[in-house]
Symmetry: D2
């Protein structure tokens, strides 16, 4: 169950303190000239140690391709890749070997598998998402060929919320600050909020908004694999995610149908809608409007402060974790949200080739 | 792409105004004594015409099993079933043949397939969910054998919200009123709200809360198929759903980690947590606590009032739909939410048999 | 595990003496005008009672479509269909309820599922192949659109073997005799051989040869899902099949490489090979030459003569089956072989759309 | 389409002259103590340069595990592994860059993908089977825990055939000679035959027989995924394979049903059959008897002698391949056959856990 996607499939592997993280991408069309720099750029956006508000673990996070690329081009064959771990401090975890950290996967892994790699969270570490970012960066390169662009940004941190629609923002400004919020004023507040949490040895959650532009009509499968259902599945499967909504979302439940409906309008070239509460998807299929959605991230469970818990022998213990941790997952999760959206969209692009003979 | 599930798989078929709706369940374990009454009970909860606040289409919605059940027991072979349509008024849709109803799937189906069954929404009709309810009702019967119970209820209609946790409610009261809210006072407000919408020939949305009790530890796959990701995928794929959150959800993003973490505690028999912001799932795997989640439903797009739109030749037209429609999908969607949750859980129950040799 | 195919997927259901046999085809492209007569024609070729050398069970085997076809055209939505059983003589099987017939699935079903539908073999009956013939007949209609034709014929019955290559035969003559061998002289010998077996209350096996013409280059997946591996899988999964070979097959193992290799030659328009030991497939991918293969069928296990066996309580018993049975499965299996080949080919046709952006 | 298996899944990657060959095994149960020596032992049996009758390419073929194994035990998480290429002579292939070698995949790859890695056959090289051997060797270690053993041996080379049933042979003697035939006299003839082919710069084909002992009753899925269909699919997908038969196979088609049927007999403990024409499988499900089958391998296409062919511009050219090649694939394919059989069996072992609640 470590494979994502139906046609363009990522199978990921690796643990936080093992040899590395990587994956195999199967189903990537042949003949794509891979731009490695774009992949590294997204990896750099996800990388630890990139700013004062992220963990200080230092990883080069350089991707190595093991197969499937020849003379710079994809071959239609499986693209295997690895990012080798360099800066593990596995000793930091010796004390935690037999302890169940609160709101972590320690206890549930043991219950499921009877064994676990306790070093740095092992497979449950968010370091696993590197594989998603690599695959997503390749998916983006396919999508660009058909005019589709995916962008994400931080829209809330704790109670600090960006009170603007993505339509009123210049998304190109997202990368201009370390928290990845395209509104500078709000960004500064968010940064302060994260620093405050860090000072308290505490953590803080938030929301990331994703937008896909240029998706043509006709992508998505109408019943179980509605385009938004696949997007939701992709997002909710990211570490620390607690919720997903698209288009009008939870707020839209309060509207009456007559306010919520998106009226179709005539334009010279294409059919458009006046409003976009549908978030670009109707009946599970894209209608040509922008796709947009929100993803809720909980505050990270690893606190650098004392907490009560129990160990595997059911003794009460006090833990006081060492290690280098993020006070807030949001800034580094932006490229992960984009990657997962790109994986879903590239899959539905390929599936859309099968609609008719 | 009309198959749901990995081990216990439902493949559904059918259109609103075709011969019927049905499906094939493949992977149901052999030897289960099927209680048909329980299936019909859930179908009755989803049935049109069940109360004054639902559509008045009259369908018996009687399930007929076509295979896979012999002498009352499942055989391990595919269980095919159908619910035959009886009360279609297909003529109601003749006027809509070439028109794209706002926020419906008319336009996107044509864009995807180049053709569509326009009678009553065809495949995009929520009538398709009957197949899910049948399969879910069977899944529930498997789950009961391992002590797992799934229940859902309406927790908001429009702006009317049930301000209580499921823990403070008697969920057995859910079926005591026609809106399916276990708090009578709130239920009455909701019913009035729906009647008001109906009077306006308008519609209203809301939220359904689902709860699964008795799920043992160790269900769920840690990376892409986290238990909550599969639940989210299942819920978001239901017609009219705009969002999903589990445990602390979107609100939880505002908490600090030290408030959000669920501290493990000693009990005599099992490991428990003091709080349950995790919603019973950690690292994608169940931890033995209750699983709970919210599902957002938009107001139904079909209004019995005049609306502007365009037709397939890009002419501006005015529609004024006839037909029999729900002013609010929520009361009838409760068994659908339960069914989809049961399908996910039964799948992970079966998958959990594969954790070790 | 009752689903066949990757993109064009058949999920089948039904038992020999239940309500009927049917299936759901998911992934059939939209917009195909279905010719029902062609489907019925293939069903008639598979039908019991079609000639003096087949079982005399009388079934109309009329297909009823339950969904997915509207105004004569496929809609891209699931195509459900059923063939209702009419002429079951279930009482014929009462005596066999607790008995394990030799070389049948009675014993293994009980061992696997702990229960079984003993009437007429239940799910293990070759009556299940009706669903394959319907789906295959639709697949053929898609294939014709891209110039691909699939044909099969009986090439041996018992020790009577057709000693000609398909290249030296007029395959249009296949349907001119009841055994479905395109060489009349051999056909008559085969018919006599089957009649002889029937007179002995015995059965006889044989080989069916399949040919696909017009398959363009580039179909097939090079590693596990080689085009011939998928064909082999499809054929070996047919009831009573014991072997599969393609191109030069088992005989080819005796050749030296220099004799076996197919030399490429220049033609004005396309690349061809001088010989075709490769059977039209190289490295798992079609090369534009004819695809041809052999399928071995064992003699049917049901004999209308006394046999020793045991029952479920491990008592020695003698059985003397009643019922109406085929002395030789080959003539009726010809359309099944074609159907399974068509299902594999249509799948790889659709997959080939994904080779490049 | 580079994934094999349903529950225990191998996704393979790599090219003959790229960085290496490897894969990810997903779905291996947790808690298995991996014996790396047994994996290396099978790799050594497949390794080039192992004897005078194989290619002299020198590869250590040492497996490196990249994830999923911790403190010597499988973790239930993906097991990634690689075997790094060491002794590629890529220059040997420069002359073949634009040429289509007869009966190779050069032409079909270009037709499918529009591009290909021409060095040493790239992905179509039999070097890819290393990944299968590693995964199969792990599958064997799971199977041993449930008493199942898989063994293969060479039963014919060219026209030299081992005329004994596996029942009359001591399969432990298989590894005592370099051709892997358990009958020494026949083995010597086979070795001479291969040496003769090598002297002629030619190649020779043959047959490998596989046997699985200890498979309990109840493995296999009765319709499309019959246990023998999955075995056949696995075998036919091995490079150079042209045919598969199990139990009585093609010869069995000549028997009458009364001779072919396997009569059930009483034993004190388990149900047995007097004969085993069924090859241990009835109705697609194992019956507890030995499973046995034959796999036909064509003579390898790479000849070290002059051959006519064409290039990508449709010019007639003469090739005279250099490089180091096997005159006969059979001896090295024995562990590959075992590996693929083990992968199928471990999958059905795991699936059999799902038969009932």
């Amino acid at each position: 169950m470590n494979t994502f996607g139906k046609i363009f499939r990522l199978t990921s592997f690796g643990e936080s303190h093992g040899k590395g993280i990587g994956g195999i991408i199967d189903g990537c069309p042949a003949g794509l000239e891979l731009d490695i720099r774009l992949i590294q750029k997204d990896l750099a956006r996800r990388k630890p140690g990139q700013s004062k508000i992220t963990t200080q673990r230092k990883e080069p996070d350089q991707v190595e391709f093991l197969s499937g690329v020849f003379e710079g081009k994809t071959q239609g064959t499986p693209i295997a890749f690895a990012i080798w771990n360099k800066d593990q401090h596995s000793k930091d975890y010796n004390d935690l070997k037999d302890v169940f950290r609160p709101s972590h996967a320690d206890y549930t892994y043991i219950q499921k598998y009877g064994t676990r790699d306790y070093r740095g969270g092992g497979r449950s570490s968010a370091r696993e998402t590197i594989a998603r970012v690599v695959a997503g960066a390749i998916a983006k390169q396919v999508l660009v060929k058909v005019g589709v662009y995916v962008q994400a940004f931080v829209s809330s941190v704790g109670e600090i919320k960006l009170n603007k629609s993505y339509l009123d923002l210049d998304l190109n400004k997202t990368e201009e600050n370390i928290v990845r919020c395209p509104d500078l004023e709000t960004a500064n507040k968010m940064i302060s909020r994260i620093e405050e949490a860090a000072k308290d040895n505490d953590t803080v959650g938030g929301v990331i908004t994703g937008v896909a532009k240029g998706v043509p009509t006709g992508w998505g499968e109408p019943v179980f694999n509605k385009l938004h259902a696949d997007l939701g599945f992709a997002m909710i499967g990211i570490n620390a995610v607690k919720g997903f909504e698209y288009g009008s979302g939870f707020e839209g439940t309060k509207l009456s149908g007559s306010k919520h409906n998106d009226v179709f309008i005539r334009t010279e070239e294409v059919v458009r809608t006046k409003t976009n509460n549908s978030g670009g998807i109707q009946g599970g299929i894209s209608n040509g409007e922008d796709i947009y959605f929100n993803v809720a991230f909980k505050p990270i469970a690893t606190l650098l402060k004392e907490q009560q818990t129990i160990d595997k022998d059911n003794n009460e213990v006090t833990i006081n974790p060492k290690g280098r941790h993020d006070p807030c997952v949001l800034p580094r999760a932006v490229p992960i949200v984009e990657a997962m959206a790109a994986l879903v969209l590239v899959d539905h692009f390929l599936l859309s080739k099968l609609n008719s003979i």
